[in-house]
Amino acid sequence: MSTPVIEILGLDFAYPDGTEALKDIDLHIHRGERVALLGPNGAGKTTLILHMNGIHRAQTGTVTVSGLPVTAPNLLEIRRRVGVVFQDPDDQLFMPTVREDVEFGPRNLGLTGAELEHRVAAAMASLEVADLADRAPNHLSFGQKRRVSMAGVMAMEPEILVLDEPTSNLDPASRQDLTLALLGLDVTQLIVTHDLLYALEVCPRSVIIDSGRIVADGPTSELLADAGLLAAHRLALPAALLLLAGAPDPHRNPPRVN
């Protein structure tokens, strides 16, 4: 098999106060995969992705990105390869205009001139934000901000795009736009979410993490069909779906038996 884009072996991580955030994580993500990382709040999802781009360093175990270990001398290249889109786009869009923001990453990689322009134009086109180039980020809609922050990451031509809760605060139309954008991007993707339906819509494979451990890894449809597994890890499908599947209406009195 080819070298995985992300290879994590025996990763442990504890915060300075002793809180164990990750325990014995093994995870492989291969080129072209689209994987959902599911888990309740506080499960360690964000901590795990911050290991992938070297913001956190492995205390035990190893993290490798396309064969390159996450170590101090490799950091710039690691951060080029792993593009993280954070949850709040206001944290990510810090330059005065959209174009300058999309340019930020490639410029840090040392690109200039025509190469830079080409990179930025391609990234903006892939997320359909080219018409926003000269706008200030503060006055974009939330969905636009989300797509622009993704363009800023795509401009680094990452090998894997990591999105932290990409659907939070999006209205249904923007959510649909995001889905189309993600499905249209030719890049390996890891989508951190607790939106199970979104995982099903976009990701063929899901990994469930709870209390810092990977508790399940398999086809999304199979994991979501396992009600016991979901309940054990504080994940639940929307009530409407359960209703369609034949569950009783919670607002109707149970039929009386005389």
Binding site: L93, F94, M95, F104, P137, N138, H139, G152, M156
Partner: protein, 254 residues
């Protein structure tokens, strides 16, 4: 939405002044200020010249007079202070409308009002014809320290976000029945400000994390410098030279 992504000091128009490169406007404005400030206060004619020249520039820039006057209100506290100079100034006194006023004080008042007023019009001209992002690029092109322009850029970028946070917090206070009518009600405001500080600090950390994730290694990347043409510099030179010609003549005639 058409105008809301511009700053409050900006006037949308397609004037020749708007079209000038930002660094040309910034340099010209600073040098013009130098001329105005260094003009001896007794040469009233020189200030009239500056006023006329700035008037022409205001007209060229298509700044509405109401907008200009509104922006000039920031001068009010200084003007009020200046009004006190003639009253409390030293002898000799002159009699104007039956009030005995200090001659020295009158000159001080004139000096402050004329220079601050003309200086303010110059600054308004610059602000009204240049968007913030262009101003930052202009300062960059003039080789202002990148750290300083970066900090200014962050300030501009996040001021709306922070004000939004603050408004939501005020709304939350009001929605749970808080009234800020007396000083006794100010406690929650103080705590809200404390919370704001912590939230802003945390946002700063998250922004830094996002910067690091996109390869930031301690230095802001150079922005694409906007090139100003020699023609633009020549136009600016003419205006600036006119101001300094007046200033130098005024200095030599006193």
């Amino acid at each position: 939405m058409s105008s809301s992504h511009r700053h409050a000091l900006f006037v949308h128009a397609h004037s020749p002044v708007h079209r000038l490169s930002p660094q040309v406007k910034i340099a010209a404005a600073l040098i013009m200020l130098g001329a105005i400030v260094s003009t001896p206060r007794e040469t009233v004619w020189a200030f009239v010249c500056y006023g006329l020249a700035l008037g022409i520039l205001v007209a060229l820039t298509q700044i509405p007079i109401r907008f200009l006057l509104g922006r000039m209100l920031v001068l009010t506290p200084f003007a009020l202070l200046a009004l006190l100079f003639p009253v409390f100034g030293t002898d000799p006194k002159v009699e104007i409308l039956g009030i005995s006023l200090s001659e020295q004080g009158l000159w001080d008042m004139w000096n402050l009002l004329a220079k601050a007023g003309l200086g303010l019009v110059t600054a308004i001209l610059l602000g009204a014809s240049t968007e913030i992002a262009d101003l930052l690029r202009g300062f960059d092109s003039l080789r202002a320290p990148r750290l300083v322009t970066a900090i200014l850029g962050f300030m501009v970028r996040y001021i709306d976000v922070v004000v939004g946070d603050l408004n939501r917090m005020r709304l939350a206070l009001a929605s749970r029945g808080h009234q800020g009518t007396s000083i006794a009600h100010w406690g929650p405001y103080g705590r809200a400000m404390g919370t704001m500080f912590i939230r802003t600090y945390e946002r700063g950390e998250r922004v830094y994390l996002a910067m690091e994730s996109r390869g930031y290694a301690g230095e802001m990347p150079a922005s694409s410098r906007v090139k100003a043409t020699p023609g633009e510099w020549a136009i600016a030179l003419v205006v600036v030279a006119a101001f300094w010609a007046v200033a130098i003549t005024a200095r030599m005639t006193t």
